[in-house]
């Protein structure tokens, strides 16, 4: 059964991208274990506001684990110690009475800190803009059932497409690599006949953009996969490598 717990929260506070940050420690009493982690931060912020202090800035939106807006590196794990959830789905029942919880922003050169726990993940959008699409315009499309797709491929594509673009993969990676994110999109589209047409072009363009943006090189540690809230598999990275190498060999 859920009960109320007393906790200490160590939160990274940083006024701006160029300012020096530091940890601030706050005590919170009687937090219900039934509340979500972000609701705990709401309670903290209410407390800070009532004390006339500036609340902690953090990103969040849908609070049901799908928009990918929430981040937070909690006790050494992106999205906290629970598996296969985002921070907004993490509940306080995963923490013990008296525990000290350390909350940090994503730390990766590709994701500069904006303020406190907010980081700029626009680099991921830029990678998609470089090639993470099928080049079709609106309209003039043949019937949806005109090209049958094996269920297995459709399912594998869906597994990859489940990526929410939260950035946990690069945040978890000791190399600051974005390969899991890139591979998820490349895989999804390479597995479907609609995306196959420009698969080679896509893989090259997205990798080039990823490298240009300063993400690191994948060394297959699998931390990304372990911390991914949507459990996207590194077999997608193998597929991306295949797609990229064969695309380059064909040139």
């Amino acid at each position: 059964m859920d009960k109320d717990i007393n906790i200490t929260v160590k939160v990274w506070r940083q006024k701006g991208p160029k300012e020096k940050g530091r940890f601030e420690t706050y005590k919170l009493d009687n937090v219900s274990q039934g509340s979500s982690f972000l609701e705990m931060l709401d309670i903290l912020n209410e407390k800070l506001i009532s004390e006339g202090k500036v609340p902690v800035a953090f990103d969040h939106d849908c609070r049901e684990g799908i928009c990918g807006m929430c981040s937070l590196y909690i006790n050494g794990h992106p999205h906290g110690p629970d598996s296969a959830v985002t921070t907004c789905q993490l509940h306080m029942r995963k923490f013990k009475d008296g525990e000290t919880i350390t909350v940090e922003p994503w730390r990766s050169a590709g994701f500069p800190v904006i303020r406190d726990l907010m980081v700029d993940r626009y680099a991921y959008d830029k990678i998609i803009q470089a090639g993470g699409f099928v080049s079709v315009n609106t309209g003039g499309i043949p019937d949806a059932n005109s090209t049958p797709i094996p269920k297995k491929n459709a399912d594998l594509a869906m597994d990859a497409a489940a990526c929410i673009g939260c950035g946990a993969c690069a945040a978890a990676c000791k190399n600051g690599s974005a390969m899991l994110f890139v591979s998820a999109k490349v895989s999804q589209l390479a597995l479907l006949p609609q995306g196959k047409v420009e698969a080679a072009r896509r893989a090259k363009a997205m990798i080039a953009k990823m490298d240009e943006l300063g993400f690191g090189n994948c060394t297959n540690t699998r931390a990304c996969e372990a911390e991914c809230p949507k459990e996207v598999s590194i077999s997608n990275i193998a597929r991306l490598n295949r797609e990229f190498i064969s695309a380059k060999l064909q040139d």
Partner: protein, 228 residues
């Protein structure tokens, strides 16, 4: 050139050079095991790998493989540290399924290289290198020994318990390095999927164990032999 410019290209170079070194390890192990059964046979191989042009050429290729592998490991590690950003996490936790070796490949590699230096100073420097600069005999523990008498070198060094322990440490580091390196190389080439991931990992573990135990067996064998 995409091999040199792109992240996957650079990784591919690491992967191919790593696989090449793995093949070499296999060959070296076979050679060592031969010494257990017949010291003469071992010495035949040693003389074959002396200062002959093909052996020198082979050594050159091997050295190139090492240098590329090491050079790129330094390059990639530096790049990756930069990609990580200037601020480090205050708390770090290793998630389940993430092997310790995978996150410490550079350190493991560094240990392996240090021992290679030791190993070279003990063997290669007195054997192929000595031959190349015109010697046919070198002094070892007060005795003159032929540069192709590999078995004598083995017996000499592996009778020393300190050397044996150092070598065993080396094999352990090598084992860790191989358990990750082997399947990681195949993943980088793209020969992997959800099913083969686990298969490759098991094969990698078996392979690394065979290599490490094989070398350890030869080392311990000669140490025990020296006690008799």
């Amino acid at each position: 050139m995409w091999l040199l410019n792109s992240s996957i290209g650079k990784k591919l170079i690491m992967s191919i050079s790593g696989l090449f070194l793995i093949l070499f390890l296999l060959f070296h192990l076979t050679m060592n095991v031969a010494a257990v059964f017949s010291e003469e046979a071992y010495n035949v191989i040693c003389s074959f790998l002396g200062s002959n042009w093909y052996a020198v050429a082979g050594t050159g290729v091997l050295a190139a493989g090492f240098l590329i592998h090491i050079g790129y490991s330094i390059l990639l590690t530096l790049e990756n540290r930069k990609a990580r950003g200037n601020d480090r996490y205050a708390v770090n936790a290793r998630p389940k399924n993430v092997e310790w070796a995978s996150q410490n490949m550079f350190v493991l590699g560094l240990i392996v290289v240090c021992f290679i230096v030791l190993h070279f100073s003990q063997f290669w420097y007195h054997m192929m290198f000595a031959e190349l600069i015109g010697h046919h005999e070198v002094e070892l523990g007060g005795q003159a020994i032929g540069t192709t008498d590999g078995a004598a070198f083995i017996k000499y060094y592996f009778s020393n318990i300190v050397v044996v322990i150092l070598y065993l440490v080396w094999y352990v580091a090598l084992w860790f390095h191989l358990t990750h390196g082997f399947w990681s190389a195949l993943q980088t080439i793209g020969w992997n999927n959800t099913i083969w991931l686990n298969r490759w990992k098991i094969i990698a573990n078996i392979f690394a164990t065979v290599i490490a135990l094989g070398f350890a067996f030869v080392t311990i064998f000669f140490y025990l032999k020296s006690l008799c």
